[in-house]
């Protein structure tokens, strides 16, 4: 549905996006992750036809955004960063304007606008000027603008930015509900969001792709993937040394009453630790937890290693 081929963008001496290629199929939700200034927004701006790429292109359901921008843009719903909407218009008038340009007329337009307002829970403010709305409602108005024509491709730059926890949840649910019929790309700084809605995550750093895979795949690159955490009411003297002697354990860390064993061999560690625990039934064990890795670990590993380059 969406194919991005070798996108590149330079602003004078700044290489904002450097050879980014990926594709997104129907039913997929791709999450862009990356530190500030990584090039997420710039990539989205090129895909949506706002910025001309320095080289490369994006193919939107068969239409090249550079060579046939209008048919390509028809297939896209775009929620830009910071939700820029005309502040002097009312929500209703603004959405009616967008609907007109999206090709709806007459009562079909009224119906479309009404439905979208309902979907995005904007009824209470529909006749209010957008400039007088709170940030969250402005964000939702812009979200509505992106959805009004039910586009097959949805590009959203930090869609839950500025929303309260309930609204964040609502938006995530909406994205999940829409996902089967659409190809969706979102960017976010909230890692739980990636686990909650994305089928695939892509870490961008300094303009290029540092990792691309399902959230579960990415988590396997985490230091804590396959690690085991034991909690005990007191610390028996022989515990640490016995754990350290396990061939499948790489490192053992203690903190207060808990011990974390990092794996050398993630598959073998769990049975090994279980065996030890069974053999030493005198250990005052109160809890045992297998950790499945944390995205923020992976994120930090992938992006911090390159930080010196980022400061230029």
């Amino acid at each position: 549905m969406l194919k991005v081929n070798h996108l590149r963008k330079t602003f004078g001496p700044i290489q904002a996006v450097n050879d980014v290629s990926f594709h997104v199929e129907r039913g997929e939700v791709l999450g862009f992750l990356g530190p500030n200034g990584a090039g997420k927004t710039t990539t989205m701006r090129m895909i949506t036809g706002f910025l001309p790429p320095t080289s490369g292109t994006a193919i939107i359901t068969g239409h090249d955004i550079v060579r046939e921008p209008v048919p390509a843009k028809k297939q896209i719903g775009y929620l830009p960063e910071n939700a820029p909407v005309y502040s002097d218009m009312t929500v209703w008038n603004y959405l009616a304007f967008i609907a007109t340009i999206r090709g709806f007329t007459g009562c079909q337009r009224q119906e479309r606008v009404g439905k979208t307002i309902e979907l995005c829970r904007l009824e209470s403010v529909k006749h209010q000027a957008i400039g007088t709305l709170s940030k969250g409602y402005r964000q939702r108005t812009c979200f509505a603008q992106a959805l009004i024509h039910d586009p097959p491709i949805l590009i959203m730059d930090e869609p839950t930015d500025g929303l309260d926890p309930n609204q964040k949840h609502v938006v995530r649910m909406m994205i999940r509900d829409m996902a089967p019929q659409k190809a969706i790309v979102i960017s976010t700084h909230i890692l739980e969001e990636v686990e909650a809605v994305c089928t695939r995550a892509m870490v961008i750093c300094n303009g290029s792709i540092a990792a691309n895979g399902s959230p579960a795949d990415l988590k396997t690159k985490s230091r804590t993937y396959g690690a085991i955490e034991l909690t005990l009411s007191s610390m028996p003297g022989d515990l640490i040394s016995k754990l350290q002697q396990l061939p499948s354990a790489a490192k053992v860390e203690t903190r207060d009453h808990s011990v974390t064993i990092y794996p050398r061999d993630p598959k073998q560690l769990f049975p090994d630790v279980m065996g030890l625990v069974k053999a030493n039934s005198a250990w005052p064990l109160t809890g045992l937890k297998a950790l499945d890795g944390r995205l923020d670990d992976v994120f930090r590993n992938l992006t911090q290693a390159r930080e010196p380059a980022a400061t230029r």
């Binding site: 706002f50 209008v70 048919p71 843009k73 820029p84 005309y86 304007f97 967008i98 340009i101 000027a129």
Partner: protein, 247 residues
């Protein structure tokens, strides 16, 4: 058909937002009061007792010089500043449709302000029998002149997100185009510059074309002049925007 629909939608939206804000009304009042003041008190139109609107039309190019760039400066600069340019230009419209829609809306607004001066025309009817053709021609020339200024202001507005810079640039360019063909200036320059240069530059000026309309002479060449200025400036606007949308 899509293009007509898109241009109309943008024009309507723009016009709506003019009248949504107090700026539009302030502009109209300032324009009408100023033109009335200049015509009646500075040019002593009433005392002259002639049913001739020349003292009225004389002031238009000078008033527009300040007022039209003031309208034009926000056209793109404001979209840039607020970021709405990004939602606008990722809609399935072409750059030309967006520019034209905005241009037409601002032009309609200016034409409306100009037409609201009709009480002055009624005064001439009271003073005597004015030349209807000259009045119609004068108004037509004035609206076209406003359009030409507007297209200049639109181009400078596309250049920068700073409205003050956009305003100043537009005033300077319009002033140049105005003075290049204004007899007091051309006479002065003709003393040292070669004749062909003076004539060549004057050919680009608004003034001779504007004055032709006031005599009630509708020459296709004057229309062509104004429209080519506008098309040239709008084309330039497109080009600038294509290259520096996010700047």
């Amino acid at each position: 058909m899509d293009s007509i629909r898109n241009i109309t939608a943008i024009t309507k939206r723009e016009l709506g937002s003019y009248f949504e804000s107090p700026v539009a009304y302030v502009f109209m009042v300032v324009f009408l009061v100023l033109i009335g003041f200049l015509t009646f008190f500075v040019s002593r139109f009433y005392e002259a007792g002639q049913a001739d609107l020349r003292p009225f039309f004389f002031w238009h190019p000078w008033m527009f010089l300040i007022l039209v760039p003031a309208v034009a400066m926000r056209l793109w600069a404001e979209e840039r500043r607020s970021g709405t340019i990004e939602t606008l230009l990722t809609l399935p419209i072409t750059m030309t449709q967006a520019t034209l829609g905005k241009f037409i809306a601002a032009w309609i607004f200016l034409a409306l302000a100009i037409l609201l001066t009709f009480p002055i025309v009624l005064t001439t009817a009271y003073l005597g029998a004015p030349d209807r053709g000259a009045i119609m021609g004068g108004y037509l020339g004035s609206v076209l002149l406003a359009g030409a200024y507007l297209s200049v202001g639109m181009l400078t507005s596309a250049f920068t997100r700073n409205q003050v810079i956009s305003f100043v640039l537009a005033v300077v360019i319009c002033l140049f185009l105005l003075l290049a063909g204004w007899p007091p200036v051309t006479d002065l320059v003709a003393r040292w510059a070669p004749d062909w240069l003076v004539q060549g530059v004057a050919a680009f000026s608004f003034m001779p074309h504007y004055e032709a309309f006031q005599k009630g002479v509708l020459d296709i060449r004057d229309f062509a002049y104004y429209f080519s200025i506008m098309i040239f400036m709008l084309f330039g606007t497109n080009l600038v925007l294509e290259n520096r949308k996010s700047a």
